[in-house]
């Protein structure tokens, strides 16, 4: 099982939880397990072709999966997958 860190904007779609446990052999499978459990997260993460949306960054532990093997990056038990969208809030 991996831990998926849910960004604040997606928490309403995961029952409010900042972290969700999900299993899978690679990052894509872990994220699919997340969207299966919480279908409302799916359009936020994946485009129509099933690719990660460009505005969503995904990290395995502290490394961007774009510099690893993308969605095919292998995930071990105890790994953390971080979903990170850009935030603009500052002066507001």
């Amino acid at each position: 099982m991996a831990t998926v860190r849910i960004p604040p904007v997606l928490r309403p779609k995961t029952g409010g939880s900042p972290e969700v446990e999900a299993s899978g052999g690679n990052v894509g499978e872990v994220l699919r397990a997340l969207t299966d459990a919480h279908p409302e997260t799916s359009p936020q993460l994946f485009d129509a072709e099933g690719e990660l949306n460009r505005y969503v960054n995904v990290y395995l532990n502290d490394e961007d999966v774009r510099v690893l093997d993308g969605l095919g990056t292998a995930v071990k038990d105890g790994d953390t997958v971080v979903i990170l969208p850009a935030m603009a809030g500052g002066a507001c």
């Binding site: 604040p8 904007v9 505005y55 960054n57 603009a88 002066a91 507001c92």
Partner: protein
């Protein structure tokens, strides 16, 4: 004004008391000349005093003080050499020269400030003593801070705590960009504003706060928005930019301009109980576009005014930004270059992520086109680029 006769000169030399000289210097219209030797000058001198040793006077004075009708105040150690120099200058045609009676010795006895060997006034040595005690700061580091010019983009949630600590730290020039006025709903987190100043431009309210906290800081108000037409000009006067903007178009514009100007940006954002902070050092580390190639759609990027934000979160992230700025100025420690620090306040947890330069980045990547001088100020249409993106009010 006390007028005394020079004892050894046939001419009458105007001699003024240190406090009179101080008032004139404060007024800003007088040329101030130090008529001692270089080693004395280095030990301590009056702020703004220009060194012209007695032996160099005939050769140098006309270039240092070209206007012979201008008010010119001379001082030395005790008033003797400056009196002689004043007589010499009068003979050269200077018509409004005065000598400080008692010189810098009496000046200091009367508690007036000097720039000492350390380059700081006695007041500054006291004010920054807890900094200068630190080997990582020291007198040199404090002088760097006093000479630093930092632009704060936003005088709100993030800008307020950043401004507070940078001003207290003695950052010599703080520019503030904001087009908003203080609103009652700001005061839960924007700690440099207050109830009395509701309705006042945030830049003005911030200036009032900073000037009361630390008179060493020169505050420059940019009461407006940064856009493609003014960003290069505004940024060119500063060493470091602190990004606390509240919208994506400004964040991308700032990124693209900072890469062109090769100026570091300390960037943070906040929402709810979550914050992010990183330092973007052009070409040394990734830029904002390497991290976020495209802005998210509106539903993934609510603003604080829609979503809410914990007030102290803004303080935590803003002070982390101030910490980054101070390290960059000092050249000490490890800034958050290539690292994104996430903070989640409910769990009190920090997470650090690696951010790498994107070789395909359209702005700082390997194939990004060189921008000729004539196109430096031309930027993409960010409103269009970010259309549908959130965070914009």
């Amino acid at each position: 004004m006390a007028t005394g006769a020079g004892t050894e000169q046939t001419q009458v030399i105007e001699e003024i008391e240190p406090f009179e000289a101080a008032a004139e210097i404060e007024g800003g219209d007088a040329v101030l000349i130090d008529t001692r030797e270089p080693h004395e000058y280095q030990e301590a001198h009056l702020e703004g005093g220009k060194l012209v040793p007695p032996a160099m006077l005939a050769d140098q004075i006309e270039s240092v003080a070209p206007d012979k009708a201008a008010r010119t105040i001379l001082y030395c150690r005790s008033g003797n050499r400056s009196g002689k120099a004043a007589a010499q200058m009068q003979a050269m045609g200077y018509t409004n020269v005065a000598s400080v009676g008692g010189g810098i010795m009496l000046w200091q006895e009367q508690g007036l400030p000097v720039v000492s060997a350390s380059g700081m006034t006695a007041e500054q040595r006291e004010r920054y003593s807890r900094h200068t005690l630190l080997p990582e700061v020291g007198v040199d580091g404090q002088l760097r801070l006093l000479n630093a010019k930092v632009l704060l983009l936003g005088a709100g949630g993030l800008g307020a705590p950043t401004a507070l600590y940078l001003a207290a730290a003695g950052v010599g020039t703080i520019g503030l960009v904001d087009d908003d006025v203080v609103d009652a709903s700001n005061l839960q987190r924007q700690v440099i504003h207050n109830t009395e100043r509701i309705g006042m431009p945030k830049t003005t309210s911030a200036r009032i706060f900073i000037e009361q906290l630390n008179p060493d800081v020169n505050v420059i108000e940019h009461n407006g928005r940064l856009d493609a037409s003014n960003i290069l000009e505004v940024m060119s006067d500063y060493d470091i930019v602190v990004d606390g903007a509240d919208n994506f178009p400004t964040r991308y514009l700032l990124n693209d301009a900072s890469v062109r100007l090769r100026k570091p940006v300390v960037s943070a954002s906040i929402l709810g109980f979550d914050g992010q902070v990183s330092t973007f050092m052009p070409y040394e580390g990734p830029c904002y576009r390497c991290l976020y190639p495209t802005p998210p759609p509106a539903e993934l990027a609510p603003s604080c005014s829609e979503n809410g934000v914990l007030g102290v979160m803004a303080g935590t992230m803003g002070t982390l930004q101030a910490n980054e700025v101070i390290k960059l100025v000092l050249g000490k420690g490890s800034p958050l270059i290539g690292r994104l620090l996430l903070y989640e306040a409910l769990g009190t947890s920090f997470t650090e992520l690696k951010v790498r330069r994107d070789p395909n980045c359209p702005i700082c990547g390997d194939d990004a086109p060189e921008i000729p001088e004539s196109e430096m100020g031309q930027f993409p249409d960010y409103e269009l680029f970010c259309a549908g993106a959130g965070g914009d009010r």
